[in-house]
C-alpha cells in the first residue's frame, strides 16, 4: 500500500430498507490533497460521510484510515484517531459559550478529557489553542457569547472550528457554505483554503456550489445513486459528458 494514502475505502455498501444508499464505493485521498465530492441530492454524499465518521455502520466494505481498518468503530474512537467532520445542518453546543464549544474539542486534541482533578480552564495548553482558533476564525470578540447567539454565518464558522479543534489529520466538511450569502460563501471559502494550506492539509468536502469546489479542491469524486460515477482532477471531471448531463448540465 502506498504510505501516501490517508484514507481509502473498499467496496463500501450500505442499504436502507432495500435502497442502496452506497453501492461499492472505492475512494482514496492522499496526503496533502483537498478532495470534493459532488452529486445530486440523495446521491449518498452525506451517507458516505456518516460511514467514514462512524455514524453508520456499512453493510459491507472497509474503511482504511492511515493504514488501519476503522470500519464499524464508534465515532468517538474514529475522531480520536484523527478524523473529524462537520455537519451540513449546523450542530453546535447552543447553550455553551463559543469558547467552550471549541475548548471541548481542543481538550480531546490534547488528550485531556479524562482528567477531573484540575480545572478545565487552568490547562494552559488547551486554552492557548482555543484562543488561537478563536483568533483564526475572528470570533474572539464573541468568545463569551452562547453559541446560539451567533449569526448563521458565524455558526457555520464555529462548526468548522469545532471540527478542527480536535487536531484532525483529515477533515470532512459537509457543505460548509449551506445557507450562506454569496459574500459569506466567498469569505468562508477563502478561509477554508487558507486552512488547508496551513493547519489541516487533508480535507474532503461535500459541496453544491461549484465555485467553491473549483476554488478549493484539486480533484473531484462524483457520486450518483450511491455509486462513484467518475473521479479525477477538477477540470477533467467537469468536462465529463455524463457528469454534465446528470448534475452539472445547467450550471457549467
Amino acid at each position: 500500500m502506498n504510505n501516501d494514502v490517508v484514507l481509502r475505502t473498499e467496496q463500501l455498501s450500505i442499504t436502507f430498507g432495500g435502497l442502496n444508499a452506497l453501492n461499492g464505493v472505492d475512494f482514496e485521498i492522499r496526503e496533502g490533497e483537498v478532495l470534493a465530492i459532488i452529486g445530486p441530492n440523495g446521491a449518498g454524499k452525506t451517507t458516505f460521510f456518516n460511514v467514514l465518521s462512524g455514524n453508520l455502520r456499512p453493510n459491507s466494505g472497509r474503511v482504511i484510515f492511515k493504514g488501519q481498518d476503522i470500519t464499524g468503530l464508534p465515532s468517538y474512537e474514529i475522531c480520536r484517531r484523527g478524523l473529524s467532520r462537520t455537519y451540513q445542518k449546523t450542530s453546535i453546543f447552543q447553550d455553551l459559550t463559543v469558547f467552550e464549544n471549541i475548548r471541548l474539542g481542543a481538550q480531546i486534541g490534547h488528550g485531556r478529557h479524562h482528567s477531573w482533578l484540575r480545572g478545565a480552564l487552568s490547562d494552559k495548553a488547551v486554552v492557548s489553542v482555543v484562543e488561537e482558533l478563536l483568533e483564526m476564525g475572528g470570533l474572539n470578540h464573541q468568545a463569551n457569547q452562547p453559541a446560539g447567539n451567533l449569526s448563521h454565518g458565524d455558526q457555520r464558522l464555529l462548526e468548522i472550528l469545532i471540527g478542527i479543534s480536535t487536531r484532525p489529520e483529515l477533515l470532512l466538511l459537509d457543505e460548509p457554505s449551506a445557507g450562506l450569502s454569496a459574500k459569506e460563501t466567498r469569505q468562508i471559502t477563502q478561509w477554508v483554503k487558507d486552512l488547508s494550506q496551513t493547519t489541516i492539509r487533508n480535507v474532503i468536502i461535500v459541496e453544491h456550489d461549484m465555485d467553491v469546489v473549483t476554488e478549493l479542491a484539486s480533484a473531484i469524486y462524483v457520486l450518483n445513486y450511491g455509486e462513484v460515477l467518475c473521479h479525477g482532477p477538477v477540470g477533467e471531471v467537469k468536462c465529463n459528458p455524463q457528469v454534465q448531463e446528470i448534475y452539472l448540465g445547467k450550471s457549467v
Binding site: Q94, D95, P146
Partner: protein, 426 residues
C-alpha cells in the same frame, strides 16, 4: 435540556421576578417562632390529614380538638389551660418525622398524640425517646408496643393481636378450620395474617395458602384463581379500607363467597357497608370500638353519647352534619389519649419537662373506669409494654349494615408481654 430563546427581555425579568417572589413568599410563610414559657400544657396532634389515611386523621383531629375543649371548659388540668397544636403528617413517614420535630421543638409540645399510621408511629419512637416526650400511638401494628417501642411510647388502643383473638372467639363455630391468607405486602397486612395464624393454628387451623400482593394491586383475580372454593372456609384478608372492598367484591364476582367467609384486617373507615354490595354478607371485621350507638353496651351509652355529640358523630356512626361515614371504630382513641394525659398529670403532679419520668411511672399500670373521659369502656395500661387492654368488637356486614356480632372483654385477650420498658431509664 430546555433551550430558551436567547436574550433576557424585560418581560422575562418580570416573569422571573413574579415567580421568584411567589416562591419566596411561600418560603417566608415560615411562621414566627413562638415559645410558650408559662401556663398552658401543650398537646401536639400528629395527624394524617392528607394522603391515604386522611379520613382517620380528620376524625382524630376532631376528637382531640373536642377533648381539649372539654378539658379546658372544666378548668384545664390542675388549673392549667391545655393548648392543642395539629400538624399534618400526610400519611408519609418522612413528612411525619419532620412534623413531629416541629411539634416538639418549635411548638414546645409536652405530649404527642400520634397518627393511625403504624409506619409513622414506629419511626417516631426513637425521636420521642431522644426528646423525652411521651407519645400516644394510635396505630394498631403489634410492634409499636413490642420491639419498636420504648418507655416513652404508650398505646391507648388494642392491637391487631386483640383483634384477631376477638374475631376467632366470636366466629367460634362459624369459623372453619381451613383458611387461605391474602394480604397487602407491608407490615400491617402481614401482621394481620400472622396474628390470625397465632390464634387459629393451635386449635387445629389448617392454612391452605399464603400470599402477599404488592401495594396498589388493582386486580386480585390472578391470586384468587389459586383458591379453590371447596377447599377453603375462610379467606383472611390482610387489607385496609379500600383494598378490602376490592378484594371482597372481586372474590364474590369470582363465585368464591358462596360458602367462604372473608376476614378483614380492621373495620374500614369512611366506607359505607352498601359499597360492598352482595359481597358484604361474607365479610367479618374486628373493630376497636362500637360503630353505632345501638351497639354500645347500655352502661356505656351515656358516655358514648357525650363523646359522639362533642365530635359531631351521630348515632349511626356518620358525620352529624354531612352524613358521611365516620370512623367510630377508631376516633375514640385520640379523645381518650387526651384524658390519659390528664390522668397522668394529675396523678404524678407533672409540672414540666423535668417531671416526665414521674408522668410515665404514673401511667404504667394505671386502670381507668368508663366515663365521659373513657367512653369506649374501662381500660388498663399494662406497665411492661405500655399497651392498653380493653374490649374488642366484632362485626359482620349483613344486608348492607354493619352488624355487631359480639364484644370480647379485655380479660379474654390477655397475652404475656415480650418486653419490659419499665427497666429502661427515663
Amino acid at each position: 435540556m430546555v433551550k430558551p430563546k436567547m436574550g433576557t427581555t424585560r418581560r422575562q425579568f418580570i416573569k422571573t421576578g413574579i415567580l421568584g417572589a411567589g416562591a419566596l413568599s411561600i418560603g417566608l410563610g415560615f411562621p414566627a417562632i413562638v415559645r410558650g414559657k408559662t401556663a398552658p400544657i401543650r398537646i401536639g396532634g400528629l395527624m394524617d390529614m392528607t394522603g391515604g389515611l386522611w379520613a382517620f386523621g380528620t376524625w382524630g383531629h376532631r376528637s382531640i380538638e373536642a377533648a381539649v375543649k372539654r378539658v379546658n371548659a372544666a378548668g384545664g388540668i390542675g388549673g392549667r389551660e391545655v393548648t392543642y397544636v395539629m400538624e399534618d403528617s400526610a400519611t408519609n413517614v418522612q413528612t411525619g418525622l419532620r412534623k413531629l420535630r416541629k411539634l416538639i421543638e418549635q411548638d414546645g409540645c409536652d405530649f404527642i398524640i400520634g397518627p393511625c399510621n403504624s409506619g409513622v408511629n414506629t419511626a417516631s419512637a426513637p425521636v420521642v425517646e431522644q426528646f423525652t416526650t411521651p407519645h400516644f400511638a394510635w396505630g394498631t401494628a403489634l410492634s409499636i408496643t413490642q420491639d419498636k417501642g420504648n418507655r416513652f411510647v404508650f398505646r391507648g388502643i388494642n392491637n391487631i393481636r386483640h383483634g384477631m383473638v376477638a374475631l376467632a372467639k366470636i366466629m367460634g363455630s362459624e369459623l372453619g378450620k381451613r383458611y387461605y391468607c391474602l394480604g397487602a405486602d407491608y407490615e400491617w397486612g402481614r401482621s394481620v395474617i400472622s396474628e390470625f395464624r397465632r390464634v387459629i393454628d393451635p386449635v387445629g387451623g389448617k392454612m391452605v395458602g399464603e400470599e402477599y400482593s404488592p401495594v396498589g394491586t388493582e386486580d386480585f383475580v390472578p391470586y384468587l384463581n389459586k383458591i379453590k372454593a371447596d377447599d377453603v372456609d375462610i379467606l383472611v384478608g390482610g387489607y385496609f379500607t379500600g383494598d378490602i372492598l376490592k378484594l371482597a367484591r372481586q372474590a364474590y364476582e369470582k363465585g368464591l363467597l358462596k360458602k367462604m367467609q372473608i376476614i378483614g384486617g380492621a373495620m374500614p373507615t369512611g366506607i359505607a357497608p352498601k359499597e360492598f354490595g352482595p359481597a358484604g354478607n361474607a365479610v367479618w371485621f374486628t373493630s376497636y370500638g362500637p360503630q353505632r350507638m345501638a351497639d354500645v353496651p347500655d352502661a356505656l351509652k351515656p358516655f358514648n353519647k357525650v363523646y359522639r355529640d362533642a365530635i359531631g358523630l351521630d348515632a349511626e356512626g356518620k358525620d352529624a352534619k354531612t352524613g358521611e361515614e365516620g370512623s367510630p371504630s377508631y376516633s375514640w382513641t385520640p379523645w381518650e389519649h387526651v384524658f390519659w394525659i390528664k390522668r397522668g398529670i394529675e396523678k404524678s403532679g407533672w409540672k414540666g419537662k423535668d417531671d416526665v419520668g414521674k408522668f410515665i411511672q404514673a401511667l404504667e399500670g394505671m386502670k381507668v373506669e368508663a366515663g365521659d373521659d373513657f367512653p369506649q369502656g374501662p381500660k388498663a395500661m399494662r406497665a411492661q409494654d405500655h399497651q392498653v387492654f380493653t374490649d374488642q368488637y366484632v362485626y359482620k356486614i349483613q344486608d348492607n349494615q354493619y352488624q355487631l356480632k359480639g364484644i370480647v372483654p379485655a380479660k379474654d385477650m390477655d397475652y404475656p408481654s415480650e418486653v419490659d420498658y419499665t427497666k429502661q431509664k427515663v
